[in-house]
């Protein structure tokens, strides 16, 4: 543990000028739930910690049918979980938030922090990926937008420059007849990191129609969260039968190259990808055709209570 100096930014501009001044010796924190753990473990050793928790305007979450969901980077995972519009229109995202550690961590951890830490297993990320989230990045020369699936470069690595900040996440409104689901596979429910996490989204052309959009995102099976593009391709525009869903699930399974670690072997992870891809697609299809589950039911299918 290396001692650090602590400062708080009150505006985005102030945070960026601190980042410019301190460069690589600085680290941004918000909820600090990941930071304090890794600092105590000696993994992160910044000389300057810049807390952005009190930056005005980044804690808002709003929805409009035209622009969709706008999530300030400082919105907590708990707020995401409890937000009525997120539960109704982005059910996989609300359930993913509920699968994220304990309430005491969710009350602190921010959506922006979960994205910027760029863990392959970050629980909010697969759901955000299937909804087509985009990131608003602010730097000294203004803002730029990056699609979330272009945001990650490796474990803990993102496209953010040292003087840039993730300010907002925008999630387009899902079309009518869209269903979504996330399943976190973890031996200890919400309290452990996902061994594998899978989110799926299906939009139908009318309630009985062919699929107009299919997206599948996988966590903890690659250096970053990833989309299963070839499996999606097999389903897009098709009438979705059990056999076709199974074939896509097999393609997702065969397309990943996970690693062995303490939470599971590569072979185990591959199998779980196949199973969870099928299950999340089936639930997404059912919700697209018959309307979403209520939050409690969706949560039950996403994660078991920890005891």
């Amino acid at each position: 543990m290396k001692r650090f100096e602590y400062q708080e930014a009150r505006t985005v501009r102030q945070a960026i000028s601190m980042l410019q001044r301190y460069g690589y010796s600085a680290r941004i924190v918000a909820g600090s739930t990941d930071f304090l753990v890794r600092w105590r473990a000696g993994v992160w050793n910044p000389e300057h910690v810049i807390n952005i928790q009190r930056v005005a305007g980044l804690s808002r979450i709003t929805y409009s049918s035209r622009n969709g969901l706008r999530i300030g980077a400082l919105v907590t995972v708990r707020t995401l979980e409890q937000h009525p519009t997120v539960r109704r229109r982005y059910p996989a995202l609300a359930a993913a938030a509920a699968s994220f550690a304990g309430v005491q961590v969710r009350n602190l951890a921010t959506v922006g922090g979960n994205i910027c830490n760029a863990s392959p297993s970050g629980d909010t990320i697969p759901a955000l990926l299937v909804f087509g989230a985009e990131c608003k990045i602010v730097g000294p020369d203004g803002e730029r937008w990056v699609a979330l699936d272009q945001f990650f470069k490796g474990p803990g690595q993102t496209v953010l420059e040292t003087d840039e900040l993730l300010a907002e996440i925008r999630v387009p409104p899902p079309p009518r007849n869209t269903g979504s689901h996330y399943i976190k596979h973890s031996p200890r429910g919400a309290m452990d990191i996902a061994t594998v996490g899978v989110a799926s989204l299906i939009s139908l052309d009318g309630r009985r129609g062919a699929s107009s959009e299919v997206r599948i995102a996988l966590g903890a099976v690659a250096p970053t969260p990833i989309r299963a593009y070839s499996a999606e391709e097999m389903l897009r525009g098709q009438s979705l039968s059990q056999d076709l869903i199974q074939a896509a699930a097999n393609a997702a399974r065969d397309g990943v190259r996970p690693i062995d670690d303490i939470r599971g072997s590569a072979e185990h992870r591959k199998e779980i990808v196949g199973v969870l891809t099928r299950r999340t697609l089936e639930q997404a299809l059912s919700s697209a055709a018959r309307g979403p589950l209520n939050f409690e039911e969706q949560r039950r299918l996403t994660v078991q209570a920890a005891f």
Binding site: Y6, W39, N51, V103, Q104, M191, E296, R300
Partner: protein, 159 residues
């Protein structure tokens, strides 16, 4: 360099000089000598250090002390009303919701936070609300039973 921290703990305004890297937990225990809040894992897994920060349960080991500046904290020392136990505490005593007691302050604070949150106190919601609190003695059935009784005692039973 130590900086002044202003914080309201159990209704009392406090000022204390704290290092920038101190957690809220270490501040409560080592600077304010409120040792009812326990340190278990110091990494957000066990929930023993749970306190209410501005009304919400948080792991105080994961909060930078200065991030709680101007905040309101409730610890286990502030839950009872003088010598009269809070209904949640009373219920844990009467229904065997604890054995060694190390995890208990955190579980009590999580429960109090949950009952104040307005969430419907179903057994399933209670289990999710307490999922971040580990107990290595009782198992959890006595804990859940104690909470369910407290729910009835506080009138926070929606059904």
């Amino acid at each position: 360099m130590k900086k002044q921290l202003k914080i309201t703990v159990n209704g009392e305004a406090r000022q204390v000089l704290v290092e920038p890297y101190y957690s809220l937990l270490d501040t409560l225990r080592d600077e304010l000598h409120l040792t009812g809040t326990k340190k278990g894992c110091d990494e957000g897994d066990c929930g023993a250090c749970t306190v209410l920060l501005n009304g919400n349960p948080v792991c105080s080991c994961l909060v930078l002390a200065h991030a709680a500046h101007d905040g309101e904290v409730t610890t286990i020392e502030g839950v009872a009303n003088g010598l009269e136990l809070h209904p949640v505490q009373q219920s844990f005593v009467e229904h065997g919701g604890l054995q060694c007691g190390y995890c208990t302050p955190g579980i009590i604070l999580s429960t109090v936070g949950f009952l104040e949150s307005g969430e419907e106190p179903t057994e399933e919601n209670i289990k999710h609300a307490l999922g971040g609190n580990l107990c290595r003695c009782t198992g959890y059935s006595k804990v859940i039973e104690s909470v369910l009784v407290a729910v009835k005692a506080t009138g926070k039973w929606a059904e």
